[in-house]
Amino acid sequence: MSSNETPQKATGLHVGTAEPGCKKTDPMLVIDHVKKSFGGLTAVDVEHLEIPKNAITALIGPNGAGKTTLFNLLTGFDTPDTGTWSFEGKSLSGVPSFKVAQMGQVRTFQLTKALSLLTVLDNMKLGAKDQAGEGIFKSLFPRFWKKQDAEIEVKAMELLKRFKLDTKKEDFAASLSGGQRKLLEMARALMTDPVLVMLDEPMAGVNPALTQSLLEHVLNLKNDGMTVLFVEHDMHMVRHIADWVVVMAEGKVVAEGPPDTVMKEQAVIDAYLGAHQDTDLGVITGRIDTINEEESK
């Protein structure tokens, strides 16, 4: 798949006009009145938001818009002051983060969390769910977990091959480059067999050469039937792969819609650019064009 090809976009995601809080035909996450303040600062104040199923949704907004805080709230890493939210119809309010992950909603972090002094393979195997050998008593006797562990290793190696990390399997994760760690974190998240993958700035700090393969991996998640919600500052990436874009500013959802239309909305331009309305968003952080230019040389 080349970078110029436009990926198949999911359509017909919403009901009625595409405005903040609009209904989705098949929502995976439904958020109601979620509010979180840090002291006097309201970091997140979302009235109503639905994240569509089997689609890639981008969460964008200027720095301090509350994107990562919303991520933390949705995954149970932080508790909101008020509000409810549900995942595939099950309420997640007050559910601890590890249970959220067990339900199939897995996340990555803005600052990559590779487990440095574990090997790449151990990082991967740690991701697998329902391991008998993770119980303290069964762990003492390998006959309870040897077979399952071997199966997990096969699965881990398949994923590592897909992410081109298979040659590094015996290395400490600390020896990987920043971009490779991002790949490892994403691959490790996939070991949990998620239905919703939440990526917090998957492109941050990744060199342009890796950007393309990361993009493809994100698109593959959708092709494999997963739902993706990601935070990103790279507008080219958002335009290229997102089926739906949610724009946040000062804790609120100010706009949502398909990427082509939503970026032209006045609220979005105001949120991002203030006075400099005429600046092309792509020029600021665009990396795809750079690669293409280099390739065409």
């Binding site: 590890f98 992950a101 996340r107 195997k125 762990s139 020896s175």
Partner: protein, 327 residues
């Protein structure tokens, strides 16, 4: 200088009940710090609870020795839970502060005269080994065993055999746990607990399990020590915690045999220094008197600990690659 005595005493340090007790406690710290990343500075408290649990069960409640030892172990489990519930949700450094305080609280409770009937206050407790039947459970007939520096009477031999048995069991337990998927989760928590949480693991439960297992090892260390010497509050002071840390870091925190070998090296060195330093002082090589020379070894332990942490943080048996990526 009497080199014969010095060498003899040094070699005797290789295998003593104290060395085994230290190895057990260091093994507990390896579980806590080396594998799970829990900064426990209260290992002396776990040892004290184990030792007092055993001695009090026998002397006050008239229980047999083995039941007393089990109660000592249960006591260290309770201590771990008591420490863990309020602190394991906090960041690592807070656990360090709380454990050091809790160990001091435990020691002072054993020292206070309010409970003299039970704890013996500053005198400590003694006579429980014979009262509880540990001494009469000795399978070795009276006599002298071993050779050279390693000559023991039957009582010491029994404590050594018992201690080595407990140590072997604990080493096996730690090894079996750390090679398993359970151990993988524990090491993952050491690296980054949020990442492990995001993968659906109940981090708090795992940290509690690690704290309990390490605490039981520490408690068993106290029990083995109590099986040999009297139980006295003067033993379980904060400095013993730091000696155990030295032994652990010497051998390698994230290893199975490192803490054991580290304890052996620590006590051999201690035996060597406590013999050679007074000799040097008497011969006028060191400008101090004999008593001061003996305490000089603790100064040297401190310097040794500093050098170790700066220049070889992974210890003797640690993975060299770990050093490269030390945070």
């Amino acid at each position: 200088m009497d080199w014969g005595t010095i060498i003899n005493n040094t070699l005797a340090g290789l295998l003593t009940p104290t060395t085994i007790a230290f190895a057990l406690a260091a093994l507990g710290l390896a579980m806590h710090f080396g594998f799970a990343g829990l900064l426990n500075f209260g290992i002396a408290g776990f040892m004290a609870i184990g030792a007092y649990g055993y001695a009090i069960s026998v002397l006050t409640f008239g229980l047999p020795w083995w039941l007393g030892m089990i109660i000592g172990v249960l006591g260290s489990i309770a201590f771990a839970v008591l420490l863990g519930v309020p602190t394991l949700r906090l960041r690592g450094d807070y656990l360090a502060i709380v454990t050091i305080a809790a160990a001091e609280i435990a020691r002072l409770l054993f020292l206070t005269t309010a409970f003299t009937d039970v704890t013996g206050s500053a005198d400590g407790l003694f006579g429980y080994n014979s009262a509880g039947g540990f001494s009469s459970a000795n399978p070795f007939p009276p006599g002298s065993y071993g050779f050279g520096p390693w000559t023991y009477n039957s009582e010491t031999l029994w404590v050594l055999t018992f201690g080595l048995g407990v140590l072997a069991l604990c080493i096996w337990l730690l090894w079996a746990l750390m090679r398993s998927p359970w151990g993988r989760v524990i090491k993952g928590i050491r690296e980054d607990e949020d990442a492990v949480r995001a993968l659906g693991k109940n981090v708090f439960a795992y940290k509690m399990q690690a704290l309990i297992i390490g605490g039981v090892f520490g408690g068993l260390g106290g029990i083995v020590y109590a099986a040999f010497a009297n139980v006295s509050p003067g033993v379980y002071v904060t400095s013993i915690t730091f000696f155990i840390w030295t032994a652990l870091l010497l051998g390698g925190a994230a290893t199975i045999f490192g803490p054991v070998i580290g304890s052996v090296i620590f006590w051999v060195l201690q035996a060597f220094l406590s013999n050679i330093l007074p000799e040097l002082a008497i011969n006028g090589i060191l400008p101090v008197d004999g008593t001061q020379a003996a305490t000089l070894r603790f100064v040297l332990v401190g310097i040794g600990l500093m050098l170790l942490v700066i220049y070889r943080p992974q210890g003797i048996f640690g993975d060299k690659r770990e050093m490269t990526f030390v945070k």
